[in-house]
Symmetry: C2
Subunit: 210 residues, 2 copies
């Protein structure tokens, strides 16, 4: 089980090649105009191998979705002692925005990415699914904080509000980008908006999560 055995290396390489080829094709021609068979061809593997690595076609596009989930978990897990969960998440969003991270959507290159999503019903459904998974993850983390009382609706409620807020922040920035605004112009407003949105969240949730 050596982590860099020949087998492991080849698998990683194959997976990466498929992902890269797919991303290139999607960006060039749109998600729905590229078939899995084409991707397999261009990556010199069989169609079945593609599905072996990426059970759904959408996962070829949202390849880095799991990273986003992990970012959330880490922000909560590694928060300073005494800092509230909402405070930690506010900090995360502010940091991402200041770093012009793709997830903050204050980055011109995000425009193209989002455009591809909007052009494809399948990808829009995939995005909803991804967001839903993030919410589920957050719910379990919140439940751990409040002490696992059975039938406590608060973790799910808080998670839903938090994810709804973050998603809306993202969508707001992307909408401006798609309207033609430059990321540099969106950025300052976005910082203020993050703070406004999290003020609202804090008012709703307060210290209910302990």
């Amino acid at each position: 089980m050596d982590e860099t055995s020949l087998r492991e290396r080849k698998k990683r390489e194959t997976r990466q090649r498929i992902s890269n080829v797919a991303t290139g094709l999607f960006m060039a021609r749109g998600f729905d105009n590229v078939t899995v068979a084409e991707i397999a061809d261009a990556a010199n593997v069989s169609k079945m191998t593609v599905f072996n690595y990426f059970p759904r076609k959408e996962e070829l596009f949202f390849d880095r979705g799991p990273e986003a989930v992990e970012l959330l978990s880490a922000a909560i897990r590694d928060r300073a002692p005494g800092e509230s969960v909402i405070g930690a998440l506010r900090g995360l969003m502010l940091r991402l925005t200041e770093q012009r991270h793709p997830l903050s959507a204050t980055l011109d290159s995000v425009r193209q990415f989002v455009q591809v999503v909007l052009d494809s019903p399948t990808l829009q459904a995939g995005a909803l699914h991804l967001v839903n998974e993030m919410e589920a993850q957050l719910t379990t983390e919140f439940a751990a904080l409040t002490g696992d009382k059975p039938n406590d609706p608060l973790p799910a409620l808080a998670a839903a509000l938090v994810i709804a807020t973050m998603r809306t922040l993202y969508q707001h920035a992307t909408r401006r980008l798609l309207a033609g605004e430059r990321a540099d112009d969106v950025y300052p407003d976005q910082i203020a908006l993050v703070n406004l949105a999290f003020d609202m969240l804090a008012a709703a949730i307060g210290d209910k999560l302990g």
Copy 2:
């Protein structure tokens, strides 16, 4: 263009027959285990006719989704003068719960319905889509209230919070039903929960929507 011409009547009847047959099959055998061809057969129409009335298979299941959307709009539109939007929506949810409306999920028959959804990835995706549409609808209604300032993130943010809340309320009740609890036992808690959740919402949104 008589509304009850022979043509109109036949169309309505055909559509209804397809929907009924489909619902029956879905409930009996699960969404994914029923093919559109089977539905067409059982309803004595061709497969193409099914797709003619219901462009997606999911729409055969979420047939009454549009009603839910309309319920939201109506509650806002017809609210008493001076009543806040959040107040009107709280009233709607309380009313639905008191009436043991299916959308409040305080009804034993909802259990079966939800079980079918949970058993089908396709239907879960469809549910996300439906919720997303409700949020979009609410966003435009909120935008109308705040006076259509361009680039105002508040309508979208408020709508996202409201929908997240309502969806969570629904899911919480259904989870208890699926855990085996009886709707009569869920009901009183649910009334209290609606009030708690809307208190949180009011704290977040307050009178920001005017």
